[in-house]
Amino acid sequence: MAANSNFPKYQSDGTRLGNALEWFDARFPLTSLWKAHLSEYYAPKNFNFWYFFGSMAIVVLIIQFVTGIFLVMHYQPNANLTPAGLPIAFESVEYIMREVPGGWFIRYMHSTGASFFFIVIYLHMFRGLLYGSYRKPRELVWIFGVLIFLCLMAIAFMGYLLPWGQMSYWGAQVILSFFSAIPVVGDDISTYIRGDYVVAAATLNRFFALHVCAVPLALLGLVVAHILALHEVGSNNPDGVEIKKFKDENGIPLDGVPFHPQYTIGHDLPANVIMLMFFFAVLFFWPEGGGYFLEYNNFLPADPMATPEHLAPVWYFTAFYSMLRAMTWNFFWIDAKIWGVISMFAGVFILAFLPWLDRSPAKSIRYRGPIFKVLLAFFVVSFAMLCFLGTKGVEYHFFGYTPSKDSSPLSILISGAFHTKLWTIYYFLFFLTMPYWSKIDKCKPVPERVTFK
């Protein structure tokens, strides 16, 4: 149902509260906002569990905003050293953990929230892939979503510098060095991003400003745009059919249910309680997430003189980090380093073109053919492999194999470097060849109405 501003204004029932509400509603579109986006926004009645993750992302967003505000009250973006030789930024994070009443809870919420944000966003995006949620008329919904994902990556990357530990420092150092690959202006760009010749106090302070203020504002605006665009065109569903085609005499879709309360209370609330159970299980029993949510080396203060032994980004970046590392050839007189940067960014931006790459007659996987199903399964494998390999060193081999000096064909086949390249190529080919295979795939007939048991 499209957002409609022609809802009748609230009429007081004569009580004092009713009068106040009528006064307010006459001056502010309260009723129409409520109705347009909640109580009279009609969503398809056949949502399944894949439709939980959008609401979960909002819950995590709220957690990150609230905890972030409280952390800013105590955190100090200061690279100077305490008398005991620890950077003040690093020390202030531990100050929150140890000395601020309840601070450990707030900080762990924020660090756990960062990982959970990516978990729910990746699942939310995968839902879109499964059911063709990016297809016409939802192209803008999808593009706003890709921009939100970019913002999220920027926030996470900048936020990760703030504890000023070894991984913070060297992670930023390595990634920012890749900007210097850009021809002609690259060195200047990375210097301007850092504000110094290496990652330094200036970088910490500007990343703080961007992390707590600029990018969250952009993110919030994009989230609003994402939802407004969605409510303009209406939600997709697991059958990938348009519910607006069949309406009753009041113009209400026959297969639609009000978003509130059927989906808010009846669907998302219990699901979010489950998510919070996972969230708090990690927070209270597993806050380091096995070294993936909080990396062990980040408990060492940043030392610009010594790189940590094992350098890997946080898990949610590792897939794109793998794409960066996959490029080791110099093409067309252009350095591999530049190709690495290009492929890393292309890995994200290519998602934005999905609405035009997919030419299948059916939107949903339920009615799409075997080619899509097989290729999508391998796409999941490729993404998981790239995630996994990004956490490992370049010399990693599967099955705990240690290569000898002479590399046999077998040792290449089970090497991480080979699989990084292989699955990066697959990742891109999946998208680039989509216009071809999505068209020839044998789809099943799509029903007129949604299936609802």
Partner: protein, 205 residues
Amino acid sequence: MSDQKKGCDSERRNLLVATSVLGGAAVTAAAVPFVASLAPSERAKAIGAPVIADISKLAPGEKMVVKWRGKPVWILRRTPEMLASLEAVKEKLSDPDSEKSAQPAYAKNAERAINKEYLVAVGICTHLGCSPTDKLKPGTDEGVQEPGWQGGFLCPCHGSLFDLAGRVFKGQPAPTNLEIPPHMFDPANPNLVTIGVDPTDSKGA
């Protein structure tokens, strides 16, 4: 709206009430660490720990200032004349018996002190938090226009006048007398005064 009413059976209403109550309780519980984080941290408490002042070098009629919880705490060694002035100005005071003012019970007396020779007071005006300046000499030598000035303190921000026991004069912006912090004299060495601890405590610092 009518849709909702139709489905509003008693089972749902009970569940809604139970969910709201438990949900409210959960949100309240989750708010506890956030509210708690606004309280002084362990660092602030350590910095705000009791301080010990050595008053052996303080001559009669002199004042020294020590920092306690980030605030100036005055220690004024009062001469017999100064102590006598306290009785003389009593009529002009807003709260001469410190009924409305903040002080430990053992300092709720005419001298507002546990040891009447020494005034130990937080040097922060009870009006809007400025620190009053010394106008210890009687008369108009120090520019105080109050007739019959016996010595005391003048707040530079809004002109509140206090006597030598930190008691505020009538008709001043400051509502109450200066706060007297908990303080004790070391029984073994009367030249050491601890600020921030009541004498009943087993051990200072």
